[in-house]
Amino acid sequence: MSKDERGRAARRGQPYLDEPEAKPFWAKLREHKLTAQRCSSCKKIFGFPPQALCPHCLASDYEWVTLSGKGTIYSHIAYHRSWHPSYQDKIPYNVSLVDLDEGGRLVTNVVDCPPEAVRIGMAVEVVFEDFPEYTLPKFRPVKSVWVSK
């Protein structure tokens, strides 16, 4: 299901669910859990994408741990042009870099907040958006955002 018609790993715009190192990440998201690899040796969170050895100390033992889902906006942008047909009716839409409290960063979307109200440094928490074949982690502001019209 995650190969395109020419055998490439994933269809444009979709996650690569069968990537060996990342399979547990996508599986746990189906249960609405945001997880990351934690090194059994140096105890640090690997970060994303998942990989076979610890990026901090090259140890090979790790465990998947469930994260708090809390994070902070490192930077944010608003797409005013669509590069993919499925986004044509969504512009302008937010894309953000969220630094997770335990370590690691995700490219994601901030939801429940107009794109123009997203700010660097804003505290956010994970929400889960289910699609037929996978679940994506997205984030909403911890404090509700009120925007005057």
């Binding site: 020419r6 490439r8 790993a9 994933a10 444009r12 715009g13 979709q14 996650p15 690569y16 990537e19 970060g47 994303f48 994408p49 990026p55 490192y74 930077s75 944010h76 942008i77 608003a78 797409y79 005013h80 042009r81 590069w83 993919h84 986004y87 969504k90 302008p92 839409y93 894309v95 870099l97 690691g104 960063r105 995700l106 490219v107 994601t108 979307n109 794109p115 660097i120 996978y134 994506l136 997205k138």
Partner: protein, 384 residues
């Protein structure tokens, strides 16, 4: 350790016609660029013994450099493809110098071509970016997005504004207006920039570079051999690279990039400093890229790029003419290959329109930048 400063020189350079080349393939543009370069250098293919190139974006496959060499009549004793995105053309020149000084080749052609304005009719397998599965599911598809993240951080940390970025676009377009082989030649104003449509906020249309078809090449040989070539040789004085992250997910910062360490290595090799540079051909895939690189290269302090680019300082006749050909923003986007050929022309001294010739040009710096603001390479070039 041997200092390679001045050991090798560029003795030939060629550019194809750029812009829309619907009938061309990336491969045909590579060949055109090689021919233009060898003609300029006054040599036959049989006198070239090394080739470095980029893989066609639409048709990546193994050993492309070897295939291309033999298609051009070159029997290489040194050949490889390089894949450092927009740092590739500069990295090719660096690898050529290293191969020549190691005794593995004497005369190396470094050729780059790109087909992004019109489709490449060659059937093949497109190159993967490598980090797209962790970006595209959330709607992040474009280089404009990655650089918009950096622009947003620069604005947050240093108070830079969209109008500050406009100064880069306006000056670069002015230079393109003076270049007969430039795609966009109509001058623009700060107001034009501010009224151009938003692409990925905070970046507007006039913050973004072109998508182009075209190719370019340079011929590198030892400084000793360089004297036998007909055109004035251009010495390779300094070289550096730095690749501080791979994807946006592991970038320690987006406001200081690989240019800082890369230029430090190049300055040290050349025994020169930022203030010695008479011009800068700085990778400008987006206006913010040029501003960050000017800071990283030490032309001003971090965060002061917004002031540095004003008052004519970066225009021809100013303190540091920037992208005298019109850059990726207005001339053509061949991943910086034309930043190198432009620097060669400036240092030869009689090959560009007189209105955009840097007076008495003796030394200048060239940057390359690729991927998710990840790869960086630097060249310092000088007149011999």
């Amino acid at each position: 350790m041997t200092n390679l400063s001045g050991k090798c020189a560029i003795v030939g350079m060629g550019e194809t016609v750029v812009g829309k080349r619907p009938d061309a393939t990336t491969n045909s543009l590579h060949l055109e660029a090689i021919k233009a370069c060898l003609d300029d250098a006054g040599v036959k293919a049989s006198q070239v013994d090394g080739l470095l190139t980029n893989q066609p974006l639409n048709d990546s496959h193994r050993s492309y450099a070897v295939k291309l060499a033999h298609m051009a009549g070159i029997d290489p004793i040194f050949a490889t493809d390089l894949a450092l995105g927009g740092a590739t053309p500069i990295a090719m020149v660096q690898h050529a110098v290293m191969a020549i000084e190691a005794g593995m080749a004497t005369t190396v052609v470094c050729v780059h071509a790109r087909k992004r304005s019109t489709p490449d009719p060659t059937p093949g397998h497109p190159i993967r970016r490598g980090d797209e599965h962790w970006e595209e599911p959330w709607g992040h598809f474009a280089a404009a997005g990655g650089h918009a993240f950096a622009a947003q951080r620069h604005m947050y940390e240093f108070g830079t504004t969209s109008e500050d970025l406009a100064h880069v676009a306006v000056s670069t377009r002015y230079h393109a207006s003076l270049n007969k082989n430039a795609t966009l030649r109509k001058p623009i104003t700060i107001e034009d920039h501010q009224q151009s449509r938003m692409i990925v906020a905070p970046l507007r249309l006039f913050d973004c570079s072109l998508e182009s078809d075209g190719g370019g090449a340079v011929l590198v040989t030892s400084a000793d051999r360089a004297r036998d070539f007909p055109k004035k040789p251009v010495a390779i004085l300094g070289m550096g690279q730095h690749h501080p992250h791979f994807s946006l997910l592991d970038a320690p910062t987006l406001t200081t990039l690989g240019g800082k360490k890369s230029s430090e290595t190049a300055y040290r090799m050349a025994g020169l400093r930022a203030k010695d540079m008479q011009f800068a051909q700085i990778y400008d895939c987006f206006t913010i890229t040029a501003m960050i690189t000017l800071e990283d290269y030490g032309f001003c302090k971090k965060g002061e790029g917004k002031d540095f680019v004003k008052n004519g300082r970066i225009s021809i006749g100013g303190e540091l003419p920037l992208n005298t050909h019109g850059g990726l923003l207005s001339q053509a986007h061949l991943e910086g290959q034309l930043h190198i050929t432009e620097a060669v022309k400036q240092l030869r001294g009689n090959e560009v329109e007189p209105e955009r010739q840097v007076a008495n040009a003796k030394v200048g710096i060239v940057s390359g930048h690729g991927g998710s603001l990840a790869m960086h390479a630097t060249l310092i070039l000088g007149a011999l």
